[in-house]
Point group: C2
Chain length 199, copies 2
């Protein structure tokens, strides 16, 4: 049997390890790259070399940046006394796209999980407690996913911060904007009803 | 708003152009790469640089290889007088995985399509006719997808090869191995019934 040349096969195997890609879509992606060498493969390989050389984790918050402090932690205008805690960098970017939060972030890098043996020390939680003290935070906003693990983590963090007297809040739960009741799960409807507000 | 650093953003944009990835999955893929720099980002960037430098189209059949002639066209044992015509390289790899075809291939690079203005000259069809002559092919096997465009292309190629006196065949259509009738579409059942064979 003739297999793809070994360089190409190695590339396919690596691509297949990315989230959202399997062996078949990795093959398709690599063939598309080779077909569009000038527009896709060359620029991609250059972009990757660049990112591999420059990308690094912010020592303060865990965001991805190109220097020791990320752009947000380095910006004095974002020192508002509010720290928004997110699970990972993709969530931070989602928050930033909404353009509503003006403070700084703290990226946990996951959630507490007994099954996967992820404890507080794996999650930069001690660092968050430190920051809440040294940055004299007024409020810590827990923007964690509304999953079991996310909520467990939120409760644990709330407990850790209790002694500091900092205000701990979390994102509201309810009907998403544009959401239709008929398509929502029971849990969301229950949460929205319990948190109902007067008009 | 703080956006991802521009190098990372450029990488995300390029990744989002790959088939099967959108902006969201490209962001996830890039974050995973950065997280696993040693196991993923570094090897990926090296593999891409290598492939960008070495991968090229076989001048004879259109397969992807690392030299002017691909491994199959360069192998004299595969000069069997049979040419298997496929739409693209992924189909060639699929045929090779089945290990049943021992001859050579011809990669069209697509199908005829009036809508997308793809004519015979875009598809290496003239080159196929040349090859059928110069390689004194006994048989051209059309392994094109069972789509409208694939079948139109098959008919066109059969017409072009008619004058050469070469035998032109196509893959059988019918019930896939392991297939259950209840899950098959009407077209497949009709084709399988029409092509029924005595036991």
């Amino acid at each position: 049997m003739d297999r793809p040349p070994s360089d190409i096969e190695a590339l396919i195997e690596l691509m297949a390890r990315l989230p959202g890609l399997g062996p078949r879509s990795a093959r398709r992606a690599v063939l598309r790259m080779i077909k569009k060498r000038g527009q896709l493969l060359q620029p991609l390989s250059e972009a990757m070399v660049k990112v591999a050389a420059t990308a690094r984790e912010c020592v303060n918050c865990g965001n991805v940046g190109t220097s020791e402090l990320c752009a947000i932690c380095a910006d004095p205008r974002r020192e508002t006394g509010e720290i928004c805690v997110v699970e990972d960098v993709a969530d931070l970017w989602a928050m930033e796209r909404s353009q509503v939060f003006k403070g700084r972030y703290h990226v946990l890098g996951g959630t507490l999980s007994a099954l996967d043996a992820v404890g507080p020390d794996e999650l930069r939680i001690p660092r968050l407690v430190d920051r809440a003290k040294t940055e004299e935070a007024r409020e810590v906003i827990l923007a964690l996913n509304a999953t079991i693990d996310g909520q467990t983590t939120a409760h644990y963090i709330a407990g850790e911060l209790e002694a500091l007297g900092v205000r701990v809040t979390s994102l509201a739960q309810g009907v998403p904007i544009g959401g239709e009741l008929d398509y929502l799960d029971d849990g969301t409807i229950t949460a929205a009803l319990n948190a109902r507000k007067s008009l």
